[in-house]
């Protein structure tokens, strides 16, 4: 078959190109600009080469923040994915329960992020918050503003409350797309409840779960607003995840060069993980 070649078609790409340039490429380039130079304000720049990158990559502060970030993301994925699937499995498939459950489930997703942080801050205050007060009343020595363990517990609980719904809704959609014949066949084959889940529901949910894990990874890895409002990264630096640490460096200390270098490293980590994850999933898909 002969295709007509018409290079003028490239003109159609221009609007997208301009849009992407203004909302992504140009802002990113300023960051790149800062990351290779030292600035003293007044638009005075001095070339620093890769110094900031080396400094960040070797700094203990960055390693600690990255470690906290990985631990946080890992823990919330470990909780939210199984919990989300579990809730989706127990949700009704028809009747009045469906809209009720769906609305209840989407509620946390509709609340602005800083409001979530503020809510949980007040909710968890050890003296007047319902959660904090109750825990202390039950005999636990709970104070998320003072004790790192409690701060982690509260941050993770908040994230689970805020985001498990997303996993639930995606899993529920996946479950609902399974034809009844699959369940009927499993029933006739004498499959146990677990076998039905393992061999029918889980494989059929694979695509939505891939999406759920990817979304939850990205969002939790870049989390900023909620822990900032809840703990402000404290006590000390114990809940200062990458974004919080980055903002501290850029706006708190005004170390624009190292902050720019850190932004780029941060960005590449997210990009790399998503790329690897996506490719692994797609490779599996291609095999089958």
């Amino acid at each position: 078959m002969n295709k007509t070649i018409n290079q003028k078609a490239w003109f159609f790409v221009i609007p997208v190109f301009v849009l992407v340039a203004f909302n992504a490429a140009i802002p990113l380039m300023t960051v790149v600009n800062y990351s290779f130079q030292e600035t003293f304000g007044n638009n005075v720049f001095a070339w620093e080469g890769t110094r900031w990158f080396k400094q960040i990559l070797l700094s203990e502060r960055f390693h600690a923040a990255l470690g906290r970030q990985i631990a946080f993301t890992f823990i919330i994925l470990l909780i939210q994915i199984p919990l989300g699937i579990g809730i989706a499995l127990t949700m009704p498939k028809k009747g009045w329960g469906v809209p009720v459950c769906l609305i209840l489930m989407s509620m946390p997703l509709l609340i602005p992020w800083n409001v979530v942080g503020a809510m949980w801050n007040i909710f968890a205050l050890p003296d007047i918050g319902f959660l904090g007060h109750s825990l202390n009343g039950l005999g636990f020595d709970y104070n998320f503003t003072q004790q790192p363990g409690d701060a982690w517990f509260t941050t993770i609980l908040m994230d689970v409350w805020h985001w498990t719904s997303l996993v639930v809704l995606l899993s529920y959609a996946g479950l609902n797309s399974i034809q009844p014949a699959y369940y009927q066949a499993a029933e006739i084959d004498g499959a146990s409840r677990w076998a039905t889940f393992r061999y029918i529901e889980l494989p059929k949910m694979k695509k939505v779960l891939t999406l759920a894990i990817l979304l939850r990874f990205m969002d939790s890895f870049m989390i900023y607003t909620e822990p900032f409002v809840l703990t402000g990264g404290g006590p000390g630096n114990t809940t200062a995840f990458l974004s919080i640490d980055l903002v501290k460096m850029a706006l708190g200390q005004f170390d624009l060069g190292p902050a720019a270098a850190m932004s780029l490293i941060y960005f590449f980590i997210v990009l790399l993980v998503c790329w690897v994850f996506y490719n692994l999933m797609m490779k599996n898909e291609a095999k089958s």
């Binding site: 014949a181 009927q184 006739i188 004498g190 061999y199 095999k287």
Partner: protein
């Protein structure tokens, strides 16, 4: 293996039933002999899948009982009934190999590893799946997948009945023939009761010894393909089976005489009763001949299908289709036709009058 009887079975998907239309199944009575090949034939929405799901235990009937070997099993689950069912589109376990798919029903029933292996190999051989046993099932073509579904039903030696719910819907036409003859062959080999649900008369008539024709939740006739063709008990069977279907024409009955379009017609039997709201005469296009005298018709159109000629004619009592040998000369313009008395039936309120 079992004899299956359905007694006064009715089913409705609604909580309350106000009219006849609220019932998906009405007063179904069937006796299926052990080892027979049966077909449930009817258009979409006639209740055949409902009936099948009641036999398999996926649905509990609103009224009536299901008996396997005269034992009431209405309350039993599909597993307790020991049945197999093959669905409209292939149901396979995507993440398993072909072997594991076939072994799955046996593993769930806690058979020993060696028993499972010999059974699976035997069935794979029968269905020509041996070469793909170690492949992942999701990579197969639609007919390969449907063979796996079939295999999962056949692999258990204890099943009472194997049921097919329009199993060839997603299969390519040229493979339909292959799979259908495979089914027929399997039935002869393993000699188990098989029930085949379809809306395709060719499938039903080629597969089954006995065909149950359903219409609006009721069984209208049960019989061999020949019986359904030669003597439809209900006008629905007449026009649903056969291509083209039976000519159903309005007629009048008085004093045992049948009047159609001003002519006296002889039917296969003398008619005694005549207190019907509606009386009709039924004659298949195959059993109409041209003659010098008889019912006057106008010939409107002749279409040649290769083996036959289908002639559309118009009489004063309605349109009549005639099927004739394609080598025969067809008169043009006006002609006279006669009905073969042996195959001329009279229907009162859609049911045959005998």
């Amino acid at each position: 293996m079992a004899k299956i009887s359905l007694k006064d079975l009715s089913h409705s998907y609604l909580e309350k039933q106000n009219s006849k239309a609220d019932w998906a199944l009405r007063e179904v009575n069937i006796d299926w002999k052990d080892g027979g090949a049966y077909a449930l034939l009817g258009p979409s929405g006639c209740g055949k899948t409902t009936l099948l799901n009641i036999v398999s235990g996926l649905l509990k009937p609103t009224k009536g009982t299901v008996l396997f070997d005269d034992k009431d099993i209405t309350a039993f689950s599909p597993v307790e009934r020991d049945i197999a069912q093959i669905f409209q589109f292939p149901v396979i376990y995507d993440t398993m190999t072909v072997y594991d798919n076939l072994a799955f029903p046996l593993k769930n029933r806690k058979l020993s590893e060696s028993d499972i292996e010999s059974k699976v190999k035997e069935i794979a051989e029968m269905l020509e799946l041996t070469s793909t046993l170690n492949n992942r099932a999701s990579g197969l073509t639609a007919d390969g997948k449907q063979k796996i579904s079939l295999g999962r039903g056949l692999v258990r030696s204890d099943v009472n009945v194997i049921m097919f719910d329009e199993p060839l819907t997603v299969i390519d036409p040229h493979l339909k023939w292959v799979l259908r003859s495979k089914l027929k062959e399997l039935h002869q080999k393993i000699n188990r009761t098989m029930i085949y649900v379809t809306h395709d008369q060719t499938e039903a008539l080629t597969f089954a010894d006995q065909v149950v024709v359903m219409h609006e939740g009721q069984i209208v006739q049960t019989g061999t393909p020949v019986e359904l063709f030669e003597k439809p008990k209900h006008t629905f069977v007449g026009h649903f089976i056969g291509s083209p279907g039976m000519n159903i024409l309005p007629c009048e009955i008085s004093n045992g005489e049948i009047n159609f379009s001003g002519q006296k017609i002889q039917s296969h039997k003398t008619i005694k009763k005549s207190n019907f709201k509606k009386t009709q005469i039924g004659i298949r296009p195959e059993f109409i001949n041209f003659s010098n005298s008889g019912i006057p018709v106008k010939i409107k159109r002749v279409s040649n299908t290769g083996r036959h000629k289908i002639i559309d004619t118009e009489s004063s009592g309605g349109n009549i289709k005639i099927l004739s040998n394609s080598s025969k000369e067809i008169p043009s313009g006006s002609a006279h036709i006669t009905f073969n008395q042996k195959y001329t039936y009279v229907y009162g309120d859609n049911w045959i009058i005998e």
